[in-house]
């Protein structure tokens, strides 16, 4: 490991020589190579491995999301390797930390492609991250990219597949449900000021207005804003009865606390946070979460034997983990992404060329996954999957979700 330049120049008797040769030593160190975060298959199979790169936020603000993605990736890949790999070839996993910082991410992701020569990259949490790393992966790196997180839609880049829910999947059922079944009439859209809420709200506005309800206000705040009394006054004065909230951490905690203190939920108001899953429930005092609505492709409450078994094996693999197997983190999208990739490579008979795998991925199907089956919609780069509307129930000091609506094979309606 790069011993060449670890040696302080003072040690040598002939200092001049040491330092004038420093660059040469550095070069020697380079060729010595570096250890990577590499998960090798436990049993070495004879065939050359398939290299999968995971680029996700192991550190920084999105670290809990990224770590959940990474754990699920390890979990799935171990499963596949135990069963003999893909088309007889084992999978080798490589991790690049995107550190919640696109500037660092671009370098690390490029290393994944140039140094480890991965055959596919999965990952990215925020849309800012996806936009930053898709160019080094898809265009410059000529590699397949799979984005696992729920997002704002409209990503129609060739060789970039999205395995998380789209706005249509998350909102096309949820909002009519709230308007028709729950009688909501007046919506508010407080949001963090970045690309995901901005694009998502455009779609949400259309759905709300098409269903005959009204938007009282749509506002954007800096990501780290912690004072929301002006917003909450507007909620009260505007007689808002439903808040479609796209504020993200760290702003969402003070927002929810201040909203709860004004008694919005107690007087019958509904809060929606469509990226909230079981992991997010630990971010707030439980009382603030009662009655919260979310809509995702999987909740632990989903009564499906395969999902239950998956969940059980995951908790055996990672006992007492801080990063559960949930949907809002993109972990279910990660599961689907790797399994669909497995299906595609099986379909190409082990051919890893991007064009071939892309063509197979376009039609790939997954019979069983978290939340049920899923399949790519041919020609649309996105994935049709089951969607669930869930309501958070807080009792006995625990918060959990109850499924209030289940929808089979919801179309992503993208591209």
């Amino acid at each position: 490991m790069a011993k060449g330049y670890g040696r302080p120049p003072t040690e040598g008797i002939d200092r001049r020589r040491v330092l004038s040769g420093a660059a040469a030593l550095a070069a020697a160190g380079w060729s010595a190579g570096a250890g990577s975060w590499l998960l090798r298959p436990a049993r070495t199979l004879a065939a050359a491995p398939i290299r999968i790169g995971i680029a996700t936020d192991i550190t920084g603000a999105f670290a809990p999301w990224g770590n959940a993605n990474w754990q699920v990736a390890q979990f799935v890949v171990e499963d596949i390797n135990r069963a003999g790999g893909i088309a007889g070839r084992p999978i080798e996993l490589h991790l690049a930390d995107t550190a919640t910082d696109p500037r660092i991410a671009v370098g690390n992701v490029r290393r994944l492609i140039q140094e480890y020569r991965v055959d596919v990259v999965l990952g990215g949490i925020s849309s800012a991250m996806r936009q930053a790393i898709k160019d080094p992966i898809v265009n410059r790196g000529r590699t397949l990219y799979i984005y696992p997180e729920q997002y704002e839609g409209q990503e129609c880049t060739k060789h970039l597949f999205c395995t998380g829910p789209t706005p249509a999947q998350q909102c096309a059922e949820l909002i009519p449900y709230l308007i028709k079944a729950q009688g909501r009439k007046r919506f508010a859209l407080p949001s963090a000021n970045y690309v995901w809420p901005q694009q998502l709200n455009r779609y949400v506005r259309k759905v709300i207005e098409a269903n005959g309800a009204e938007i009282v206000f749509e506002e954007y705040y800096p990501l780290d804003q912690s004072e929301y009394s002006a917003t909450i006054a507007k909620v009260r004065d505007g007689n808002v009865d439903c808040i479609f909230n796209t504020v993200i951490p760290p702003g969402v905690q003070p927002f929810m606390r201040q909203l709860y203190e004004t008694g919005f939920q107690r007087s019958g108001g509904i809060v929606i946070l469509i990226y909230y899953d079981e992991m997010s429930l630990t971010y707030h005092p439980i009382r603030e979460l009662d009655g919260l609505y979310s809509c995702l492709d999987y909740f632990q409450a989903v009564d499906d034997p395969f999902s239950k078994g998956l969940q059980e094996r995951y908790s055996q693999r990672f006992p007492d983990t801080k990063y559960p197997f949930t949907a809002g983190t993109g972990a279910t999208g990660m599961y689907r992404g790797i399994k669909l990739y497995e299906a595609s490579v099986k379909a190409t008979n082990g051919d890893l060329a991007r064009e071939a795998v892309s063509a197979a991925f376009d039609r790939a199907k997954l019979a069983n996954g978290p939340g049920g089956s899923a399949e790519m919609v041919p020609g649309h780069m996105h994935c049709a999957m089951n969607m669930y509307i869930a309501r958070c129930k807080a009792e006995n000091n625990t918060a959990r979700y109850e499924i209030v609506g289940a929808y089979d094979r919801v179309d992503p309606r993208e591209c």
Binding site: P9, S20, P102, R103, D135, N139
Partner: protein, 345 residues
């Protein structure tokens, strides 16, 4: 200890600094041959070259003209943003247009800063200039991270590839050669400049700034010229960096990159031109490999900070200070000077 530092081999006519320079350029030239099968290391080497230019631009400011500029990343990032936007909105990315554009961006912005910070009625102190440039850099970072047109917090990605005629420059050996060419031009340009009569005045400013006005030199003008040139070099580096990474974000204009430039320069040895290059190489190569080790990655920024602290306190002349004497570092001007260097310090 110091007395033993023989700065010059009596048997040959080439001094230590020149040897280091020759060795460095030899290594840089041999990179494509050594690393032709390791594209990731070519990418790293290209990054080192580009960041070295940023470090050299800081060295011109601080090491040669005593302007403590914490704003080099501002010129660097602004040029990057400019070429990214021109590429996005006008579909233009030819080097014959981008290069002058980036130089102009660096020049205009550094002119603005020079006008405000260096030509105030009160003679600016080092701290004043440092805080002024730092504030500028910070303000620029906040500005671009809130400005939708330039991608706000997301930055600008998928930057058009740099073109030379019909050739698209993807990262790799051709890009490395381009970077090496521009780097060499900047390096030798600066080297000639700091060893010219102009450089002599800069050296005099370092020695005794108060005395120079009495001899008839307008100190601030000389400082400003060096500062503007540094701005131009930072602009060129920023352009290369944006095209090479394919991404430019608020972090590219912010104080953290500005501070990195300071670190590169102080680590390698300020006032030597080649020192900042070595400093950049050491920091970037070390962080590239150490980032793989879990425990070190977490404390790496802390280690860098400690390193900087130790250098500033114990080794103000940086790594090169171990082998290059002060006298050689400051240099000799004209023919008569070379004989003095022969003596030991």
């Amino acid at each position: 200890m110091k007395g033993r530092l023989v700065t010059r081999d009596p048997t040959s006519g080439i001094c230590v600094l020149a040897r280091v320079e020759i060795a460095t350029f030899f290594v840089l030239l041999s990179m494509p041959f050594l690393l032709w099968s390791r594209p990731e290391l070519i990418t790293l080497a290209t990054n080192v070259l580009i960041l070295s230019m940023l470090a050299i631009s800081f060295d011109l400011c601080w090491g040669y003209s005593g302007v403590m500029s914490f704003g080099q990343a501002l010129f660097f990032g602004a040029a990057g943003y400019l070429v990214a936007i021109v590429g996005r909105d006008l579909g233009f990315s030819s080097i014959w247009g981008s290069l002058p554009l980036a130089m102009l961006a660096g020049l205009c912005l550094s002119f603005l800063f020079a006008a405000i910070l260096l030509f105030d009625r009160i003679k600016p102190t080092t701290i004043f200039v440092a805080l002024g440039t730092l504030t500028g850099s910070y303000a620029a970072e906040r500005l671009v991270s809130g400005w939708q047109y330039v991608g706000a917090g997301n930055g600008l990605s998928s930057i058009r590839l740099l073109r030379i005629g019909p050739i698209e420059m993807v990262e790799g050996i051709p890009f490395y050669c381009l970077a090496l060419m521009l780097f060499s031009l900047c390096y030798f340009g600066c080297r000639v400049l700091v060893r010219s009569q102009f450089g002599l005045v800069l050296a005099a400013i370092r020695q005794n700034e108060e005395k120079l006005p009495f001899i008839g030199y307008c100190v601030q003008v000389y400082k400003a010229v060096a500062f503007l040139l540094a701005g131009v070099i930072a602009g060129v580096a920023g352009m290369l960096f944006a095209y090479h990474q394919g991404f430019v974000g608020p972090g590219n204009v912010g104080p953290s990159l500005s501070t990195a430039a300071v670190l590169y320069c102080l680590l390698g040895g300020p006032g030597t031109l080649i020192g900042p290059v070595l400093g950049t190489a050491v920091v970037e190569v070390a962080s590239y490999f150490l980032a793989d080790i879990d425990t070190i990655r977490q404390i790496w920024p802390l280690l860098l900070g400690l390193m900087l602290l130790i250098i500033v306190v114990f080794r103000p002349n940086g790594l090169l200070g171990f082998i290059v004497s002060d006298r050689e570092r400051i240099g000799s001007y004209g023919r008569g000077g070379s004989k003095q260097v022969r003596t030991t310090t």
